[in-house]
């Protein structure tokens, strides 16, 4: 196999044509890398923002989630009767439930005393809320009234809460005019809707927002026995329960949230458009480079045709030039993407990370970009008339 390949090996015309014109090669690679970086950034921001909107959702220890049909997103959760959640216990697959209060509250920055909304979750400290077991121990600290767990990944505008806490200070602040004390830190992460998060007990939560109708909750977590099918149970519960409650699987709850940001805001469109711009810019640059490359070498291509080379094998040279440009333009874009993601993570706390999906998407886009441009530049080759070179 390798031997046969070696036997058929020829002069690597495509790579030589690129290498022997270093300035043009650098321009082309810079252009492709730039387009790639642009796509990485735009798609990274988009996915990061969508991912961030469900950091809390993903952590919930639930197979099925009950919400009010009037809820539209995590920043506007409506209440529904708590007894609906209790009713699910009648289903044999259900193992446990956790009622959760979920609302935005105004947090006073203990340093500057300015206020800012923060997403607060209220639950019974003894009941499981997150799959993360390290949280269960901290939840015990909430049994006393007026105690909260603060998300250390919250944006700095909420004040140096985490730093003070680690330094051993007593961190106290005000929510809705009531004094609260930070008794622990958790790591959740900021999202679109919420710049920060805090956890507290149901008792404290109800104390902070006194006008909640009694017996009303915003989110109901349902855990199923091992081996049950959440989709099936969710469908059955939905038909059994009155329509003042919506039954979702955990994934359905995540989709519900992401769908809101995707469809009800222009974020998805803006960033996709940004990525498309990168694609177009890249196309123009690669086309320019390949077109002028073919034009400059037209007499040489014509000479090869006169020698008896097939047009097809010459088109192959252009295609290979495109392929080489795609691969060697992608690599620096990938490296730069990694670096920029790190910057973005540090600056915004958004979970922007390089993943296989996105790196493949961007590579395919660059490949399409280069092949499209090569295809267009090839048309110039049709002008190579070997009869004209004598």
């Amino acid at each position: 196999m390798i031997r046969a390949f070696w036997q058929r090996r020829r002069i690597p015309l495509a790579s030589l044509m690129l290498i022997r014109q270093p300035v043009r090669l650098i321009v082309a690679l810079a252009g492709i890398s730039f387009a790639g970086i642009l796509m990485f950034m735009q798609l990274g921001f988009r996915d990061g923002l969508f991912d961030a909107s469900v950091t809390v959702h993903r952590l919930l220890d639930a197979d099925i989630v009950l919400i009010s049909p009037r809820s539209t997103s995590s920043v506007s959760m409506a209440g529904f009767p708590r007894r609906r959640l209790v009713q699910t216990m009648a289903t044999p697959e259900v193992e446990g439930i956790t009622p959760v209060h979920w609302n935005l509250l105004l947090w006073r920055n203990p340093e500057t005393l300015g206020t800012r909304s923060i997403l607060a979750l209220g639950f019974e400290p003894g009941q499981p809320l997150f799959t993360d077991s390290s949280l269960a121990a901290k939840a015990n600290l909430l049994t006393q009234k007026g105690r909260v767990l603060f998300d250390e990944k919250s944006r700095p505008e909420f004040g140096p809460v985490a730093r003070w806490f680690r330094e051993g200070k007593t961190v106290e602040s005000e929510i809705a005019g009531k004094r609260v004390r930070v008794v622990g830190l958790v790591g959740l992460g900021a999202s679109f809707g919420a710049d920060g998060n805090l956890l507290t007990s149901s008792e404290t939560f109800l104390d902070l927002i006194p006008n909640i109708p009694s017996g009303s909750i915003e989110v109901g977590l349902v855990r199923l026995k091992p081996g049950s099918n959440p989709d099936l149970v969710a469908r059955r519960l939905q038909t059994r329960l009155p329509d003042d409650v919506t039954v979702l699987t955990k994934q359905g709850f995540i989709d519900f949230e992401q769908n809101y940001w995707r469809t009800s805001t222009s974020i998805g469109f803006i960033f996709t458009l940004g990525a498309a711009m990168g694609f177009v810019v890249g196309c123009v640059i690669v086309y320019q480079v390949l077109y002028s490359d073919v034009s400059d070498h037209l007499p040489e291509y014509a000479t090869l045709m006169a020698m008896g080379y097939k047009l097809k094998s010459l088109l192959g040279v252009v295609v290979r030039e495109g392929l080489l440009l795609a691969v060697f333009g992608y690599l620096p874009a990938y490296a730069a993407g990694q670096g920029l993601y790190l910057l973005v993570r540090n600056a915004t706390q958004l979970p922007v990370e390089m993943n296989t999906d996105r790196s493949l998407t961007v590579f395919s886009m660059i490949l399409i970009m280069c092949m499209l441009s090569a295809g267009l530049a090839m048309r110039r080759l049709a002008d190579a008339d070997p009869a004209e070179i004598f």
């Binding site: 070696w6 036997q7 058929r8 090996r9 020829r10 002069i11 015309l13 030589l16 044509m17 290498i19 022997r20 014109q21 070498h297 007499p299 040489e300 000479t303 090869l304 045709m305 006169a306 020698m307 008896g308 080379y309 097939k310 047009l311 070997p386 009869a387 070179i389 004598f390």
Partner: protein, 230 residues
């Protein structure tokens, strides 16, 4: 040396350029035979149709009227693919050297050798080196055309044309860009190497100093051929 089989056999070949009122006849009933191994020189004033005749024999242009047979293959009405395959057996040397700028001398010659079927990479590379040695450029293997003199470039072009083992060599004023001494050298080299391969040569030239290398001289005027036997 000259055997009786014909490399080129042309009968009443006519050719026109342009269409409608601007249509202009460049070849008028040309007849020409070239035997295998024969060296024929074609002279005549510029614009008389010499290059057109060369491109028709070289299967670079569609034959319009008349019959052109190269190695027994009729080119009248031949498809593109057939002409492309035939071109592999015809070596061409141009007024300019037309070397690939991005390739070294050795790689340029190997582009010719690469056309040979059933030959491994190393064999083709060795052949390329062999040809460069026979044109006296064994020390310039890895030089780019940019770094070679005019005569050296033309010698690389000859090596490239011969590396494909052609049975017919078409050359269009190969000495035009060279000084007289170098031109003479290149043409003699060309003739000697073609002879060794028993390859026929049809060379267009204006250069009166090289006429004596020909077996036969043919003169063209206003699209008509006048045979001159020496």
């Amino acid at each position: 040396m000259v055997n009786t089989t014909l490399s080129v056999d042309i009968h009443s070949l006519s050719h026109w350029y342009g269409k409608g009122s601007t249509r202009r006849q460049v070849l008028q009933g040309v007849d020409l035979q070239i035997s295998a191994g024969e060296v024929v020189l074609l002279t005549g004033p510029s614009g008389c149709g010499k290059t057109t005749l060369l491109t028709l024999i070289g299967a670079l242009r569609q034959v319009q009227e008349g019959s052109v047979e190269v190695f027994g293959q009729q080119l009248q009405g031949a498809a593109k693919g057939q002409r492309q395959r035939l071109r592999r057996h015809i070596g061409m040397i141009f007024q300019g050297h037309n070397l690939l700028r991005c390739l070294t001398a050795e790689q340029n010659v190997q582009m010719g050798a690469d056309l040979l079927p059933n030959l491994g990479y190393r064999a083709r590379r060795d052949q390329a080196r062999e040809w460069l040695r026979s044109v006296g450029l064994e020390d310039e293997l890895s030089k780019l055309p940019h770094d070679l003199s005019g005569g050296q470039k033309q010698r690389v072009a000859i090596a490239r044309a011969l590396a494909a083992k052609p049975q017919l060599l078409l050359a269009d004023e190969p000495t035009a860009a060279l000084d007289s001494g170098t031109g003479r050298e290149v043409v003699e080299l060309l003739k000697r190497l073609a002879r060794e391969q028993s390859c026929s040569v049809l060379m267009v030239t204006h250069d009166p100093r090289i006429l004596d290398v020909a077996d036969r001289l043919v003169r063209m005027e206003d699209g008509r051929l006048h045979q001159t036997v020496r």
